[in-house]
């Protein structure tokens, strides 16, 4: 379902690709109102995070971020998000492949399953995973309060991203090129590596960037699952929250600025990928 929702490269690129009319009085007013609302709701608050983070000067910021417990949380979050993204690159591409190229009974059900992590409230996602991999696990696997729990939670919430960015591209691939390669004696593996993979790379990269950003910013699914043990299973979002709860807003803003920097970097990467793809074709 959410092909359009999760494939930012396509919609965002197309959004700015085509021009249109100039603004008239009413559309200009509409744009003004929309910008005012967007600024009050999103831009000014995010700016406030950056301003608050910079108020303590560079040394204040650096101290907040390199505090032992915070640094451990950032390392865990970024490292786990990176590992999960690697798994998603392989599994997401494979899932997209199966959904596009294979036909079997129950495929529609798989389609629904892939989108569930996107719509399921994150706190419920945590509880859902806890019921199979927690203390009462019918499998006898209890990963509750371990780092594996963090990995699993990230894996769950980032599941749709690569699948949904790769799927439409794979569906539109020109089959004739593949057939030509095969008829010229290329093995299936060579065809995949030389013909299919290069055309999928931008989509995989875009999905990977989104999946990484989503993992790094995750909070809700970890609350019940990971135990939030300092130095062990505590992620960055939880660190920020505990700073807020201890009324240490400056510290919270400094760590939040790191997360914001990661989100912005991801958006820039996505934009670059989009432009490349547009230029190519």
């Amino acid at each position: 379902m959410t092909t359009a929702t999760l494939a930012p490269d396509r919609s965002a690129a197309r959004r700015s690709a085509r021009g249109g009319r100039r603004l008239n009085r009413y559309s200009g007013l509409g744009l003004g109102v929309a910008m005012l609302w967007f600024s009050l709701l999103v831009l000014i608050p995010l700016l406030a995070v950056l301003v608050t983070a910079s108020e303590g000067g560079w040394s204040g910021f650096w101290d907040a971020v390199t505090n032992e417990q915070t640094a451990a949380a950032i390392r865990l979050t970024v490292g786990t998000a990176f590992g999960v993204t690697l798994v998603n690159v392989v599994m997401g591409t494979l899932i997209a492949w199966v959904l596009v190229r294979d036909r079997f009974f129950g495929k529609r059900l798989l389609e629904v399953l892939i989108d569930i992590p996107f719509a399921l409230p994150t706190i419920v996602a945590g509880l859902v995973l806890l019921s199979l991999y927690g203390p009462d696990s019918p499998l006898g696997v209890d990963i509750h309060n371990t780092r594996i729990a963090v990995f699993l939670a990230f894996l769950f919430v980032t599941l749709p991203f690569i699948v949904r960015t790769v799927q439409p591209v794979l569906a539109e691939l020109d089959h004739e090129v593949e057939e030509a390669a095969a008829s010229l004696g290329a093995s299936r593996f060579t065809t995949f590596r030389r013909i299919i993979l290069p055309s999928l790379t931008p989509a995989i990269a875009a999905g990977a960037a989104l999946s990484f950003a989503r993992g790094v910013s995750e909070y809700g699914s970890l609350v019940l699952l990971s135990g939030n043990l300092p130095m062990r299973t505590e992620v960055t979002s939880v660190r920020i929250l505990s700073s807020i709860e201890n009324d240490n807003v400056d510290n919270a803003a400094a760590v939040a600025a790191v997360l914001l920097a990661i989100s912005f970097a991801v958006i820039v990467i996505l934009d670059v990928i989009q432009r490349r793809v547009m230029r190519r074709g």
Binding site: M1, A4, T5, P8, R10, S11, A12, R14, R15, S16, R18, G20, R21, R22, L23, L31, A34, F38, L41, V42, I44, P45, A48, V49, L94, W97, V98, R101, D102, R108, I114, D115, I116, A119, P121, T122, I123, V124, L127, V128, L132, P138, L155, L159, H175, E179, R188, L210, A213, V216, S217, Y219, V223, I244, V249, A253, A256, L260, S263, L270
Partner: protein
Amino acid sequence: MAEQATRPRPRTARGPGRYVARLIVTAYLFFLVAWPLYLVGQNTFEGGLENLSGILEDPDVVHELRLSLMVAVIAVVINTVFGVGVSLLLVRYEFPGKRLLSALLDVPLSVSPIVVGLSLVLVYGGRNGWFGPALEGAGFQIIFATPGIVMATVFVALPLVIREVVPVLEEVGDEQEQAARSLGANAIQTFWRITLPAIKWGVIYGVVLSLARSLGEFGAVKVVSGNVLGETRTTTLVVEEKYLNFDKGGAYAAAFLLALVAVAAIIVVSVLRPKESR
């Protein structure tokens, strides 16, 4: 999915690799999504309907369910109006900074919910926020009150309608709109009679997805709500509180209700979409 039906039959995978891939994917999704989700349902109905009736008879929980629903509906209305308007501006008009705006509109998708909550507190917090004290002086409390919850919810679900509507708007083009206008229709008539019916499905998907996202927001709401029992607590916060207080039955039941809405939203969208593109 539906696109495949209209196109010439795609090349399908052959050979034993196909079955291996199918098996791996099915097993992966079974262990990661299907089985855990099923267990939540099973845990909810373990003692019959007791867990569900338990939370539905608790006046606090009912109040919280109602608050969640109200907040979600307000957020969806705001985001739909904003989303359709901004999509029209982005697709049909040319203005400086359009590209930047388009990129910034996606920011809420990748910002941590906790950071969303923090950013709102920094600006609208009653004690030392940028605008908070002035607003509070004028009688508007935002943080630790319902307006804050609404703002946090609108923030996190902001791009969803735009992302659904923009591609549809581009696909339908503006020829019909121009025709309507040349025949004497004004802007409002053109919008209601031509544009809106054409983008109807995009708007509906956006609304369904936003509704699911809005009902399920947890982190951002947790920061701005103050979590006051029976006052500013939403259903997702109930799940956490019940679980941490060892009322697992209640937590599963509340989670079950939320999951039901999410799954229903996904099914509605996946059932509707193919029909429309055929």
